[in-house]
């Protein structure tokens, strides 16, 4: 128990620390191109961390979506908007204070949380055990995540697909769905 705990903890702490360092670098940099690249690194690191936390499906999704599509879309936006962030005029003191106070309150709240990875964590007690026991009997699907996603919580997933679809419609309405390039002279007229 202790040996495996130490092993998990070392990888976990290392990856999480890298993740936080990347996030702080993102907050400090003003070159947006570097920010987007670091956001890709951030996604890849979080995918690795998710894989060590046994969430293989989520890690897979995060690696494909976060490090792949998200970076491409952010770069596409940068090509349309510019790559340098201007220095903010107001002082960062007030937002920093708000964040520190909120963070302190949240950390005070975590002190009562059950220990990380404990098997008797309240989150593991009822519903999860039920799903793990019922899935092989009722659906015969070995991947419990797929079974819950598509069968037990099918309504939820239908809603999520509809949200993705709606967001795509909104983007197409905003940016133009025809796929034709507007004439180059338009920008000059505005």
């Amino acid at each position: 128990m202790t040996a495996s705990l130490i092993g998990i903890a070392v990888i976990d702490i290392l990856l999480f620390t890298f993740l936080v360092i990347t996030a702080i670098a993102i907050a400090r940099l003003r070159n947006l191109f570097a920010v987007v690249m670091l956001a890709g690194v951030f996604s890849l690191l979080s995918a690795a961390l998710l894989a060590t936390l046994d969430a293989v499906d989520v890690a897979f999704t995060e690696a494909a979506v976060g490090a792949g599509i998200s970076t491409v879309l952010l770069l596409g936006t940068l090509a349309l908007t510019g790559r340098e962030e201007k220095k903010p005029r107001h002082s960062p003191f007030l937002p920093l204070l708000v964040c520190l106070v909120t963070g302190a309150a949240l950390i005070y709240g975590t002190l009562d949380m059950p220990s990380f990875g404990a098997a008797n964590n309240p989150a593991q007690e009822h519903l999860a055990r039920e799903y793990l026991e019922r899935t092989p009997v009722e659906t015969g699907v070995p991947n419990v995540v797929t079974a819950i996603l598509a069968s037990y919580r099918g309504f939820d997933t239908l809603g999520e697909v509809l949200v993705v679809f709606t967001a795509a419609i909104a983007v197409l309405l905003l940016l133009g769905a025809s796929g034709k390039r507007p004439s180059a002279g338009r920008r000059g007229e505005e």
Binding site: I69, V145, L162
Partner: protein, 145 residues
């Protein structure tokens, strides 16, 4: 990017395995990590890679934006249609047990159908999003950056 011959050759080698892997993830999602969401994204990545290396216009000859939009809607309809079919067969909306003679097989069929809908919808949406951003107004000139 016509002069980047290394990129062109490597991406030509990579794109078919990416699509094959996407199909594997789609249909094998019951047994290993994966499923409709991941497969859809991987499938879209193959098209986006092609567009990045060979130009978006040649990608749009393969898959015109209109086709992508139709597939985005069709995926949602496959998902919701599965629910309608189970209702017509006498079970609840998305209650797969009525789809086959015994519940375990029926669940398997239902999950496959629903994941297929998710995969089609997500792949089409991701391609459509990329095309919408990449084909928007001419990008800024270098001095504007």
């Amino acid at each position: 990017m016509e002069h980047h011959s290394v990129l062109r050759v490597v991406s030509k080698l990579l794109i078919p395995p990416i699509i094959l892997y996407a199909l594997y993830v789609q249909w094998h999602g019951d047994y290993g990590p994966g499923g409709g969401f991941q497969a859809g994204v991987l499938f879209a990545v193959a098209f986006i890679l092609y567009a990045l290396v060979f130009g978006i216009d040649s990608m749009m000859k393969v898959l015109p934006p209109r086709t992508a939009h139709i597939f985005a809607g069709a995926g949602v309809l496959i998902y919701a249609g599965t629910g309608i079919v189970t209702m017509l067969l006498g079970d609840a909306f998305l209650g797969y047990n009525a789809l086959a003679h015994d519940p375990v097989h029926a669940q398997e069929w239902g999950i496959l159908a629903v994941e297929f809908g998710v995969g089609v919808s997500v792949a089409a949406v991701m391609i459509a999003l990329f095309v919408a951003f990449a084909r928007h107004n001419p990008p800024l000139k270098d001095e504007d950056w």
